[in-house]
């Protein structure tokens, strides 16, 4: 039985310059956070109408991807797809890295980040936000334990139970993240039970896209082989997950369209919302769903490394667009205080809110992404996460076993 050999990344000028670049991005993000804390949120584009802006888009994307990126390891441990086993460790590392980046952005955007201790010790358990704090930190601990049992000798028998725990916890975490929006009765664009499964599907899709991007780029940069067979497996999986996201989105909007009450917000998102309509159809549906599915399933492009890379990038972009439409589009549509009436006031009642993302917000969001990448890159340098080879030749014994078992 061939054992997968994992090796650390080799140091070098490329590695050092990458870390320098990421370090600069993190420093810029921290600087932006300090600037926002000192002068107040007036320096950002967020206001009393759009209270959650670009940092939250980045944070939710990172958190949702963190949950989804662990899916590769779950496929190996929980669903016993042996082909993904060599990728399980990397999957765990990326999950922790992405979650850390997302949480950093979320915490640094708080109006009073100095009160983080209060947030960690005083809880209102009726709030899904409070539960999420436990789900996020617990996820980090569980994945750390998951990595521990995978990487330690003599702990093989614990991999499956811990893998199951991580899988269930992942689903709870993503459900909790979706419920942040799904449990808001006030707004027309939220208040939908389907937010939870939609976010689960989103996590699978975005997480896998991020994983494919990361592993392809890292293997190319580190000079490690990546097999065509494995590529096709991952690509097909990405297609299925992107399709699942399209399905849940369709159900969400078809159901809302049926209710006259939600007609206004649906018209806004789907038809005359300007930027939000463009992001929904162009970004979320076409770039994030239809085009990647076409790329991975068409025989002409399905086996091409470049095409799969491109499809993953499109899914990520479409994912950011989707989260932008959910978070910011949901807030931009005015609250309905008097149904059927036109409202106006000095507090922007009845008008679609305008939002212009500002530089500090962008820097903070990118700083979180850089933090996630830094953790992943340093992790691969210090510990053995990356397999020495992911080529088809290394995978040969497993395929022969599977073939003989099947016949």
């Amino acid at each position: 039985m061939q054992r997968t050999v994992y090796t650390e990344l080799r140091p070098g000028i490329g590695f050092a310059s990458l870390l320098a670049l990421l370090g600069a991005a993190i420093a810029a993000g921290l600087g932006a956070a300090l600037y926002m804390e000192k002068y107040g949120h007036i320096v950002t584009g967020m206001n009393n109408q759009i209270a959650w802006g670009l940092p939250h888009v980045f944070a939710v994307f990172l958190i949702v991807s963190a949950s989804g990126v662990l899916n590769v390891a779950s496929l190996a441990s929980v669903f016993e797809r042996a082909a993904y086993k060599p990728l399980a460790r990397l999957s765990g590392l990326l999950a922790i890295a992405l979650l850390a980046g997302g949480l950093a952005v979320l915490v640094l955007d708080l109006g009073r980040p100095d009160r983080l201790i209060v947030a960690m010790t005083t809880y209102n358990f009726k709030s899904i936000f409070a539960w999420n704090i436990f789900l996020y930190t617990g996820f980090m601990a569980i994945v750390a334990g998951y990595l521990f049992v995978q990487m330690s000798r003599g702990m093989e028998r614990y991999v499956k139970p811990v893998g199951w725990l991580a899988f269930v916890w992942r689903l709870a975490l993503t459900t909790g993240t979706g419920s942040i929006f799904g449990w808001l009765v006030a707004r027309q664009g939220y208040d939908a039970a389907i937010m939870a499964p939609l976010f689960v599907a989103m996590s699978l899709s975005f997480g896998l896209a991020v994983f494919i991007l990361f592993v392809l780029v890292t293997c190319a940069a580190a000079g490690r082989e990546f097999g065509a067979d494995l590529l096709v497996r991952l690509a097909r999986l990405l297609g299925i997950f992107a399709g699942a996201v399209l399905y849940f989105t369709a159900v969400q909007h078809l159901t809302a369209l049926y209710a006259a009450e939600h007609g206004g917000v649906e018209r806004f998102i789907l038809l005359d919302g300007g930027l939000y309509t463009g992001l929904f159809w162009g970004g979320q549906v076409v770039l994030g769903g239809l085009l990647p599915m076409a790329l991975v399933y068409l025989p002409a492009t399905g086996r091409s490394r470049i095409a799969v890379l491109f499809a993953s990038v499109l899914v990520v972009l479409g994912g950011l667009a989707q989260i932008y439409v959910i978070i910011i589009g949901g807030q931009a549509y005015p609250l309905v205080l008097f149904p059927g009436m036109e409202e106006s006031s000095s507090f922007q009642d009845g008008v679609v809110a305008s939002y212009m993302p500002s530089l500090p917000e962008l820097l903070l969001g990118l700083g979180g992404v850089a933090l996630a990448l830094t953790i992943a890159v340093i992790g691969m340098r210090v510990l053995r996460f990356l397999p020495a080879t992911l080529g088809d030749a290394a995978d040969e014994p497993r395929r022969e076993r599977a073939a003989s078992a099947g016949s």
């Binding site: 804390e37 002068y39 107040g40 949120h41 007036i42 206001n47 009393n48 109408q49 209270a51 959650w52 708080l110 109006g111 009073r112 980040p113 009160r115 983080l116 209060v118 947030a119 005083t122 809880y123 209102n124 009726k126 709030s127 899904i128 936000f129 409070a130 704090i133 942040i180 449990w183 808001l184 009765v185 006030a186 707004r187 939220y190 807030q331 609250l335 309905v336 205080l337 008097f338 059927g340 009436m341 036109e342 409202e343 106006s344 006031s345 000095s346 507090f347 922007q348 009642d349 305008s354």
Partner: protein, 260 residues
Amino acid sequence: MSGGRPATGARRGGGNATSSRRDFLRGAGAFTVTLAAGVTLMAYGETPAAARQPGEPVTSKQRWGLLIDVSRCGDGCTACVTACAEENGWKQGGNPLTDAQWIRKVTIRNPKNGVTRSAPVMCQHCADPPCVDVCPTGASFKRADGIVLVDKHTCIGCRYCMLACPYKARSFVHEPLQDQKPYAPRGKGTVESCTMCVHRVDTGRIPACVEACSATGNGAMLFGDLNDPGSEISKRVAQYPTSQIRADLGLDPGVRYRNL
């Protein structure tokens, strides 16, 4: 209060004579406050017996509410808004998108027939507030007497309650503040909303907006104890049909509207 010298005169020199003057001030103050509170409450239909002593905690025996008669609300009148801004120290103007606004006049127009009316909208002090449900630290809370407040010592500024409020009642403080009113502390990085002038209510007075509205002569706003069947507001709510904004959400706000 009678004039003349205090019973225990202020003695010259040191020793422990200092307690006497403070004791007198204390007693005189208590007398004045109780008298003033009683007078204020009686003028607005409350019985002094329902008044709470300053040292006692609030109970759910009282539920404070507002009744707003929209037909008496002047179209261009913003007396309530101006009074609230003056009382609680939030400025208007400068940056309309980020400035706090605890109360605003909403103009409601029926697109079918063009009929227009206006009404003040502020925190509705719901009995089942969504902002309280979603606050991760419990900073957004409902006091026993029904007033919904933000405990700014615990607020981390996550703004989730701003997303959750159906009435857009909450504002976030986007910049550092100077010279806050001593009885209405507010600071950068926390969320705030109408407090129903809790600092006034706790000393037996009425909210600034209600006072200003009655001063204009319109008398569109009425404040009182919804749990007291003898109070003016309870009598009117029992007499006329009143509605709540977004009553379909089932939040049972303490702010009621008439002729909306």
